[in-house]
Symmetry: D3
Subunit: 314 residues, 6 copies
Amino acid sequence: MSKGILDYSVGEQVEKFLLIKSSTKGIASNGKPFLTLIFQDQSGDIEAKLWDVSDTDESTYAPESIVKVLGDIQNYRGRLQLKLRQIRPATFADSVQVSDFLETAPIGKDLMSSKITQYIFEMSNPNIQRITRHLVKKHQDAFYEYPAATKNHHEFVSGLAYHVVSMLDLAKNISELYPSLDKDLLYAGVILHDLGKVHELSGAVAASYTVEGNLLGHISIMVNEIGKAAEELRISGEEVIVLQHMVLSHHGKAEWGSPKPPLIKEAEILHYIDNLDAKMNMLDRALERVKPGEYTERVFALDNRSFYKPSFHK
Amino acid sequence: MSKGILDYSVGEQVEKFLLIKSSTKGIASNGKPFLTLIFQDQSGDIEAKLWDVSDTDESTYAPESIVKVLGDIQNYRGRLQLKLRQIRPATFADSVQVSDFLETAPIGKDLMSSKITQYIFEMSNPNIQRITRHLVKKHQDAFYEYPAATKNHHEFVSGLAYHVVSMLDLAKNISELYPSLDKDLLYAGVILHDLGKVHELSGAVAASYTVEGNLLGHISIMVNEIGKAAEELRISGEEVIVLQHMVLSHHGKAEWGSPKPPLIKEAEILHYIDNLDAKMNMLDRALERVKPGEYTERVFALDNRSFYKPSFHK
Amino acid sequence: MSKGILDYSVGEQVEKFLLIKSSTKGIASNGKPFLTLIFQDQSGDIEAKLWDVSDTDESTYAPESIVKVLGDIQNYRGRLQLKLRQIRPATFADSVQVSDFLETAPIGKDLMSSKITQYIFEMSNPNIQRITRHLVKKHQDAFYEYPAATKNHHEFVSGLAYHVVSMLDLAKNISELYPSLDKDLLYAGVILHDLGKVHELSGAVAASYTVEGNLLGHISIMVNEIGKAAEELRISGEEVIVLQHMVLSHHGKAEWGSPKPPLIKEAEILHYIDNLDAKMNMLDRALERVKPGEYTERVFALDNRSFYKPSFHK
Amino acid sequence: MSKGILDYSVGEQVEKFLLIKSSTKGIASNGKPFLTLIFQDQSGDIEAKLWDVSDTDESTYAPESIVKVLGDIQNYRGRLQLKLRQIRPATFADSVQVSDFLETAPIGKDLMSSKITQYIFEMSNPNIQRITRHLVKKHQDAFYEYPAATKNHHEFVSGLAYHVVSMLDLAKNISELYPSLDKDLLYAGVILHDLGKVHELSGAVAASYTVEGNLLGHISIMVNEIGKAAEELRISGEEVIVLQHMVLSHHGKAEWGSPKPPLIKEAEILHYIDNLDAKMNMLDRALERVKPGEYTERVFALDNRSFYKPSFHK
Amino acid sequence: MSKGILDYSVGEQVEKFLLIKSSTKGIASNGKPFLTLIFQDQSGDIEAKLWDVSDTDESTYAPESIVKVLGDIQNYRGRLQLKLRQIRPATFADSVQVSDFLETAPIGKDLMSSKITQYIFEMSNPNIQRITRHLVKKHQDAFYEYPAATKNHHEFVSGLAYHVVSMLDLAKNISELYPSLDKDLLYAGVILHDLGKVHELSGAVAASYTVEGNLLGHISIMVNEIGKAAEELRISGEEVIVLQHMVLSHHGKAEWGSPKPPLIKEAEILHYIDNLDAKMNMLDRALERVKPGEYTERVFALDNRSFYKPSFHK
Amino acid sequence: MSKGILDYSVGEQVEKFLLIKSSTKGIASNGKPFLTLIFQDQSGDIEAKLWDVSDTDESTYAPESIVKVLGDIQNYRGRLQLKLRQIRPATFADSVQVSDFLETAPIGKDLMSSKITQYIFEMSNPNIQRITRHLVKKHQDAFYEYPAATKNHHEFVSGLAYHVVSMLDLAKNISELYPSLDKDLLYAGVILHDLGKVHELSGAVAASYTVEGNLLGHISIMVNEIGKAAEELRISGEEVIVLQHMVLSHHGKAEWGSPKPPLIKEAEILHYIDNLDAKMNMLDRALERVKPGEYTERVFALDNRSFYKPSFHK
């Protein structure tokens, strides 16, 4: 997609397809209902008001529908707003799809898939290798589509796989610096640690929690899946328990959702790698939006801190 | 077994079989090694010293071996001690067995088994009933033998099943007072909640934690087992997830080992029932050992409190 | 009262008396003041707007006044609203009273009173029995009128006594399962544990905290009352201190308001029973409002959890 | 008492009366029992061994008995020890008494009593003044004898009254700097805050906790006493509740034993004054025992810190 | 300044200069922008609306500008409001300055300065005296201008110096009651403890945090300054480290911002004195605004408590 | 040094120099004093008893002295012991030195120094580069000698520099994976973060805390040093504050000793790198001592966990 909605300047006219991210009804001071719409494309999101709406409008302009808009970019109290002149729902003939408007991982699925395949290929313990390969294969469609979380970090299409690929690269570098680490375990732990999210979350877009996700959580779901995989593959060594433990303990502490803390060296290191990659992602996204000499917005998952971008940074 | 070791008075002579609970080597002031032995039978335990021991003695009088002793009950600094005159290992011909010396649940396995069978029979939801029955059957030998824990509460032979039976009776009473409760769920939760201990612990006697127990814990183990049972029985309704959740959440909070807190009413109530029965067991055991007007020893699992037995209690 | 305000369907016309639960002034977009009224009867509450109000209206339609309304039930953004056509304050001639519109305990005062009398009658320790009877008698009017709390649980007329009766039934059942419990102590603890609320709260309706309630709290108030009762009855045994301790410790932990944790077995059990009955009440009320397959609103006093109603529940 | 036991140097011979603070039986390497005795006088305490003791010796040389000893001061592994040559129990004829050997407040009871009387005299609110005077009078014997605590601070004879007098002087100074403070309330709070210790502790010497102290605590005890005093004096103003609140809240937080935090300005300040005087006492005692440039032992009640005495302090 | 804005009654007409404390833009129901202005003078602040504003108005009536207003005091929903008739920015000719409208310490800079000079003069340790005098002199302009904090306590012009002076008086009184205290250390600690705020905060009025303040904090800044002062004055004794420690530890605990807890007696006492003076200031300000028998607003820095003003207080 | 003391088998005779790590006096059952000595060389440590010692022996065989021993390796209750036949202090003529017996970093000082020099050389920000180079140079002797801590991790000669070199390699790898990181800041942060330990600790061997270390801590010490360095080098850009912040915040949280949490991205990452390298060192040392299928001893600084070495690890 060429020019994103956030690439327009104040005063410019916009005519393009956009995805409705959220739609909230309000009552105007004249007593008539209106909609506050948040439009989204890959460049980000922008607010607009649709006045004097009917009940039909309310259902037409619902979240996750695509619309064609004509309007002007305005500055309203320091934030950009889109003043609508025309709006209509997209039709089949427009041949646009939701994924055109979603932020997605910076590298493609094919590359991610071939990197992960390569990492699995490098494993030398056959039990670990077979279980990992089996589970990646079983869930491959969702695995390469889902976000890593509903918010906080890697909350974009293919975010889950992208998070895994970044962590694998980190794991490889760290294993080389600390050769006592069992690379097979570490790679397998990285690949499987969040794979349960394909059951925990409802889908790749606008993900919410499933009942299974709420009642069991992605950690317990994946521990079960590893057990099942081992049975199907007739694998019974201690590797099965150790892999389950890697997943079970990767949140690091009971109060963070791991019923057992890491009790294996590689499990402890997996927790650090996960943390480092997730926090780096959050920090980059928050700092991108500010200029040198400014502070970011508070980042909830980083203890609500507001980070400073040094003025000597370009 | 007739007269227990704790039933003898100071000055009385003892001649009986006893189980060695622990054996610790020391060096006497004359430079010679000796053993501090703790003997046990169903009435409790008592200390004794075995002087001038050889290396053979050390291995003969190891924990979990049975011995025949002759000696006298003494008072040493306020505590009973057994002054040994003679000691020998029990032989096959003596036809004594470890279980003769162990504390065990106050009601027999048959009675416990028939009560549990009855509770399962009363369930009306077939999915819940079949999974519960399947898992009890699968693990029935260990289930009726194992303790409920290695210490703190119900740490005796058949303690696990006894804890379950007490909780079922409580669950039944509470369900009658609060009819909105789903009895099937509550009974199934009670029966399955600690069943994973048959994998977590090493056995019915002198139980320690298995590697699986340490790395996964009885909660995750049983969540997996429920999943497996449902697959084998081809059951796929929401009952499976809900039962897994009952077990997963029964410790009540993440920091107490439940990765998800109770999110179902019956799961919340299961947590209370478990707590109430376990604490009642600890309190009864601690208070039995003191007289009215005295304080118990500190009870670690009750926040290290020391409880008072009112002087108007008989 | 026949048909409650929540029993009407959208589109139906309503003509009935209602209690004003709250009244908040706003300024409409035409610059004129209006009132947002919450009406209440025993079936629940509903919102309405009263436009173009005068200063007199504001004082006439104040909280806790009763009005006669004529209007229509509407659906506004997913919630029921009452569109007012006519409203007038109730007069003496209407012979309606506040209590007609309040939620109240599901069983009557007489039944509650006779149950509590029976439980006191069953006590065998005369010191415990006399103190308990004395205090119930002294505060009987308020005791059978007050709510158990201003929010969270049993926050309705006679909620305090109803909470006590439910707990007594629980206590009886538990005492039968665990015969080592001192029933007298447990019953007395249940009956007295929250009785201080008759001083802590300002009244049976729209209760707020008194100065004494804020500065001392119902626990300290009742500990004092027990001491006073014992003096008046010339009772001096250890029962007095133990009863005071039962009340003092019933919140379980210092940080929950008990300066001493339970140090008597029955005090520990009282804490569990109180907890169980209060939480059951909250859960039932939250779950009543949702359908199978849905989540409740977050329940503040249950760690802000949102509970799931299994889809296999009717 | 002239020369204290800690005033002797290594090598000097000692012949004097001493109080036995503790006595512990051991078994020597020759198999014979011996006693480890800690002797005490107002200068401090010293250890000694009594070899080859009989059962009679054990009961004769029990804690809190006074003995006449003859022995030599020795250095044993860096600490002083008394090598006994002779020992005998004191007799009536020796006319020595336990109080001769106890540490006591640095100012006498008469002075403390007249200071407290003066502070009460200065109060202008008659309700506060009468309740305070009544309670001090009621408990005056114990009040001027008891320690302020069993350990940590002011753990000496008359420690309670001495702590109160120091706090009153502080309160007076602070009230002069911050004239918005209600001096009557502050003085009364200081005088009454720990008075419940006369019931909580067993006595002035070797104090332990009474059952009432364990089950209710000095705070609740004194809150009751204030209520009782008000009734006896027929005082009913808000002063009664406020005084009860001062005592109730003086530990500052629920987790420190105050079921209500301070909600009155003077209650907040009382908490600070209590803290300041108690900590100053602990710090002085710990620092007295070390030289400039050294660290004190860890002080448990000060978060287990070890304090440094600057080398430029004399 | 004669009559403050809060000294007018409802219905009175006001014509006076005021400082704009904050200005927030809104959109009225007629679609036109308006400003919500908070005006301030030394008596407090009041809200007003300025309707139909232009872009110029928005920048003219910005925070920290002074205006001349004509208007009427109204009661709007229980709070005072100023209904504007005329408003204009102040000009040079009006000869008014920001400081005329700011709350300031109750005693003048000269008096504060002479008191602090006197306290420094009383020190007998020359190293402590010289460092303290040097740093006060270096920062004297800001020291006597800055507030002690941006909110919570002493948040007014000269608040920092006023807080120090009050603490010095407290320190003097306490040192006299506890003569073991090193007065020099205590006075120096009081004078220097918050002096780093002259770098941490942006200025005396409407203070915000500087980058240095955010990244290092006033504690670390002042520890550095003490080190630098010692170098410049060629002082090298242990006093330097001890003074740095006094400042470093004055927040009392790591979680409150002190990387080392107090490990010197005077450092511990400094923490109490700081706390006592700050809290007294907050309490006085909160209680001034309510009448006897009422509760204050919640005070955030006092654990969000709401304090009660006894009804027997005048 | 050829064969280490832990390389001998039971029964072998030993004749070699050893360092005394600790020496504790005891009294044998014959009433005569003896010493329990812990000998150390680079392979580890072993216990021995020296019987019937004189006062001279006690001072001769003090910690940190070197001795020549002749003796036999024995097994005593499962642990190796050295049974002494002869012992004498080393003399000048023996030409042995303490460092011969100490564990030291696995790579030499020269290599570490050249790596660090290279990393500094790679920096492109001259302010950061000059401050870092200046401080490394200023403290170079201690920097390459000191341990990184007195216990927990890198507690060996040159441990500080070795920890820094490992972290630099990690930092380099991570910077390459996340190119948004400012390498200069990260490298400088790594090099300076613990450099204050050269003042905090007393020396390279048997390090204890200095008074400055106890009262200020290595973090505050180094923040001051950076300030001083900047002054001496006449550098005044924001880099100075940012570098100080990197050091100040590297413990991550106030309760872990950082008065400010990381507020710069590189500071956050520095905290992770420090953690990862320290924990890896602890884990490796703990796991080296156990065999596959075993658990390590509890590791205090890893939340007292005991780690499992999988049985499929070689």
